[in-house]
């Protein structure tokens, strides 16, 4: 008995009617792989329909597919060469059935993309190429089919090859082969074509054998998403599949985003000779822990070093298959590993035209479109950037019961919030003060608080903050402005400008502002603070006295003002990750106060803030003379 062998999954993709299913039928025939009687059965089906012999009927099994001559749903068939076994995945080319194409192609290790020699490169030829890339299928061979219809013309083949190579190059894909074929006539399928003696390369069959079996790169960090926790007997088993890395008995595991630790006591298995002591990527396993810590579905276990990122906001490149448009503000259920969480589309950043790869600043994503969007989850998630860990760096969105789109994650411009969260949750006892908040309030005549200004560079945060400080001081308030200048030098002198450092900068400002406010004063902060998560954390630290004040001015206005010449530099590319230009600004969803500096003078702006402060923080105010 031979051992179960290596096998490879190959998807057949391309525009409608370019001959994908025909190729599969012909390949089976020419390699003697058709089941007995199948050829005759297809002959009979065609005769009954009064049509010429159709190879595609091997794969197109549905009556509707045969009657209409179009593949509706993807289909899989098993095949073998002398080298190895294959699962051939035939995908539909019609735009209407793109969701089925995705279903088929996403399961593949490699793809064969067909282009009709006569029709040339069409809409789905490009879109399928793009989607393969997005789905993570990196090996592609292109076959130019129906060469019989162009008299096996070498130049025609060369033109299509040249054009399509350009497209693939822009995607960063290098095709393994370009093959001129005639699926119907059997040219270059399993045998070299006599009609195309000018072509010296491999046949389709040889090209299949040239694909590589993909194995996960060594050394990826452990990711073990928890699928379920079982208590069928005295054991408490944490079940799941290892997506990357290796897990061993005795390992100390970190469960994110809950941030709990536990040590692997055993790897459980039923009906095995000896219990395993180690498990690797791809294995569905169950473990028990030494400690009884709370773990639930959706948690991701890793080692302490190289844990997943924690964030509630990220960028995604997404393909949308839903019937209803995806727009800013739309809510979905996201499935990310084994987690399921509500998400809202914070912004649609751009829609990509898969035809020429140009991007447009649209506000909605229609069915079958590809786009870049920003998603915000209801709770903190454990995730990875797709480029560093594909299996844990992608998600699907569910709309109305069904999966309606998929996306890959990028954290560009966004910080890992793990340390920010961890520090906040550490449980330190606060010192009990003898002086109470009421004592302070009655002496100062006002409550303590934080006036958190946020807005683009040039929106007027510092100008307004400094003027408000002066006015409040004159009105008898204890007040102090925190801005970049007085914290970056000392307190935050160790921080740079990476997303993580920026987030940490804001975290510290939030904590200091909270302390100042608890000291009874009104602390005004003037930081761009572009991320909602960071501001939410500051609000959490600040407590009841926190007020988010949106210093609002549109980008064009700010850029026109450009008091420090920063926009000019950013546009020239001299400042990387500049908010509003090359990094996001997430406007407040429900600010306590909006100050529109595009329409108000500085004096008017100050007056509005002061009115707000008087109404919210004053107990009695005692003006002092200037």
């Amino acid at each position: 008995m031979s051992v179960a062998e290596e096998s490879l999954k190959v998807a057949i993709v391309g525009h409608v009617d370019h001959g994908k299913s025909t190729l599969v039928g012909r390949l089976f025939h020419d390699t003697g792989s058709l089941p007995e009687g199948k050829f005759e059965a297809i002959q009979a089906m065609c005769k009954r329909r009064g049509m010429p012999f159709e190879w595609a009927f091997l794969m197109d099994a549905l009556q509707a597919e045969r009657d209409q001559g179009v593949t509706i749903d993807t289909s899989q068939i098993w095949f073998r060469t002398a080298k190895r076994g294959y699962v051939i995945i035939d995908a539909p080319g019609h735009k209407e059935f793109l969701k089925n194409m995705v279903t088929g192609a996403a399961a593949s290790d490699a793809a064969l993309l067909l282009i009709d020699a006569e029709e040339g490169i069409k809409e789905q030829s490009r879109r399928h190429g793009y989607l393969l890339h997005l789905l993570g299928v990196r090996q592609v061979t292109v076959a130019v089919n129906k060469m019989d219809l162009v008299a096996y013309d070498r130049d025609r083949f060369a033109t299509i090859e040249r054009d399509y190579r350009v497209y693939l190059r822009e995607l960063g894909v290098t095709p393994t082969h370009f093959i001129p074929i005639s699926a119907r006539e059997g040219d270059n399928i399993a045998r070299p074509s006599e009609a195309m003696a000018w072509y010296q390369g491999p046949t389709v069959l040889q090209a299949l054998d040239d694909f590589q079996v993909i194995t996960q790169p060594d050394g990826l960090p452990l990711r073990f998403p928890v699928q379920d926790v079982y208590r069928f007997d005295e054991r408490r088993i944490i079940a799941g599949r290892i997506e990357t890395g290796i897990l061993q008995v005795g390992d100390q595991l970190l469960f994110s985003p809950a941030n709990r630790m536990g040590k692997v006591k055993s790897i459980e298995a039923w009906s095995v000779a000896a219990p395993p002591i180690q498990a690797c990527a791809g294995e569905s396993i169950g473990i028990t822990l030494e400690e009884q810590i709370f773990v639930e579905r959706g948690d991701v276990a890793s080692h302490e070093v190289n844990p997943p990122i924690e964030s509630d906001v990220f960028l995604a490149r997404l393909f949308w298959l839903g019937d209803r448009d995806l727009t800013m503000g739309s809510r979905y259920t996201m499935k990310l590993n084994t987690a399921e969480v509500g998400v809202v589309v914070q912004s649609v950043d751009r829609v990509i035209d898969t035809g020429d790869l140009s991007t447009k600043g649209e506000v909605k994503v229609a069915r079958n479109q590809v786009a870049e969007i920003t998603l915000r989850a209801d709770t903190m998630q454990a995730l990875d950037a797709f480029t560093s860990s594909p299996p844990t760096g992608r998600f699907v969105l569910v709309d109305n019961y069904n999966i309606a789109g998929g996306g890959i994650i990028s954290m560009e411009g966004y910080a890992d919030q793990r340390n920010l969260v961890a520090r906040q949750s550490s449980n330190i006892q606060r010192v009990e003060h003898d002086v109470t908040a009421e004592n302070r309030e009655s002496r100062n005549g006002h409550r303590g608080g934080v006036l958190w200004f946020t807005g683009l560079s040039g929106a007027g945060k510092s100008t307004v903050a400094v003027a408000v400080e002066r006015r409040l001081f004159n009105l008898g308030y204890q007040t102090y402005v925190l801005d970049g200048d007085n914290v970056r030098h000392g307190l935050n002198g160790d921080l740079g400008f990476s997303p993580e450092d920026r987030a940490e900068n804001i975290r510290r400002v939030g904590e200091v502002a909270a302390l100042i406010s608890r000291a009874g004063m009104l602390c005004i902060t003037a930081f761009i603070s572009p991320y909602r998560s960071d501001r939410d954390r500051a609000r959490l630290a600040g407590g009841d006295g926190f007020a988010e004040i949106f210093i609002k001015a549109d980008l064009a206005t700010c850029e026109r003002r450009d008091p420090k010449g920063l926009y000019k530099k950013a546009r020239a590319g001299d400042i990387p990750d500049f908010t509003g230009i090359s990094a996001p600004y997430e406007a407040p969803g429900a600010p306590d106060l909006v100050i529109d500096t595009a329409t108000l003078t500085v004096e008017e702006a100050v007056e509005r803030v002061v009115e707000y402060v008087q109404s919210r923080f004053a107990i009695y105010a005692k003006p002092v003379s200037e």
Partner: protein, 264 residues
């Protein structure tokens, strides 16, 4: 991981997804080779337990060996066992060809069981390599109120994420063996030493490759009397597995009609 380990892990993952997401589950246990592998994989997934009932839809036309097998392992494996009965053939769609019409009884039996127990998810041990419409199946396949399959509008399924929610009144068919082939089933049965009904092994030059109702299932010519011999036979044969199942061959559309109406 070798090839069988990969298949096994995928099936276990599917079982656990279903168990986590769907409340009322049951498994169809037809007693055939695929069903037995499926049941085995469920016990692997749940560490020796089968946390939902195993259902057998009894047409009354099964081989005596099948009943004997059933009775033995229900006890030996301590299964939560449910048996369903089927209405007489006279009540089935008369436009179906005879064997398909007979097979439709099983669909009717299944519907009754589903309604009686309010199951929301049913595990069925079908495989893509068996037949053209099964080749187009999803792992988690939603079925309409009458058990109907929207074959022309299936939801997408990729990246190991499945459609686990469904409108009230409908249910899911879950197919943990979809990616296995006939030869994989035998290799795994051999490796794991899974019990098998003797009808699969050749006697007097004939054996069953696929077991259905006695009246519409026929044995093939074979001398394979052991699992290794079956595997060797399958490596060279070009005869399709279901060639002995009459209902597949009566008319081009017969099996598709059966399946869209709710057959496995």
């Amino acid at each position: 991981m070798n090839h069988l380990d990969v298949l096994e892990s995928e099936s276990i993952y599917i079982f656990r997804e279903a168990f986590s997401r769907i409340d009322k589950l049951a498994m169809l246990w037809s007693l055939g080779k695929d069903s037995n592998v499926m049941l085995w994989l469920a016990r692997k997934a749940f560490f020796g337990h089968l946390p939902f009932p195993a259902m057998h839809i009894d047409t009354g036309n099964k081989f005596p060996e099948m009943y004997a097998f059933r009775d033995r392992y229900v006890t030996e494996w301590g299964l939560n066992f449910l048996s369903g009965t089927c209405p007489p053939v006279a009540e089935m769609d008369e436009t179906l060809p005879p064997a398909a019409r007979s097979a439709a009884r099983k669909t009717a039996g299944l519907k009754t069981l589903l309604e009686t127990h309010g199951f929301e998810g049913i595990f069925a041990g079908i495989r893509r390599d068996e037949e053209g419409t099964r080749a187009k199946e999803r792992y988690f396949s939603p079925r309409g109120a009458r058990g109907t399959w929207e074959i022309k509008d299936q939801p997408p399924e990729f990246w190991g994420q499945f459609n686990t929610t469904f409108p009230p009144g409908t249910h899911l068919r879950i197919h943990p063996l979809l990616h296995w082939t006939e030869i994989d089933i035998w290799r795994y049965t051999l490796r794991e030493n899974i019990p098998t009904i003797p009808l699969y092994f050749a006697r007097d030059g004939k054996r069953y490759r696929s077991l259905g109702d006695a009246d519409i299932t026929f044995p093939i010519d074979s001398t394979a009397g052991t699992i290794p011999e079956i595997i060797a036979e399958l490596q060279t044969t070009r005869i399709s597995e279901r060639s002995g199942r009459a209902m597949d061959h009566e008319a081009e559309d017969a099996f598709e009609r059966l399946r869209t109406a709710g057959y496995m």
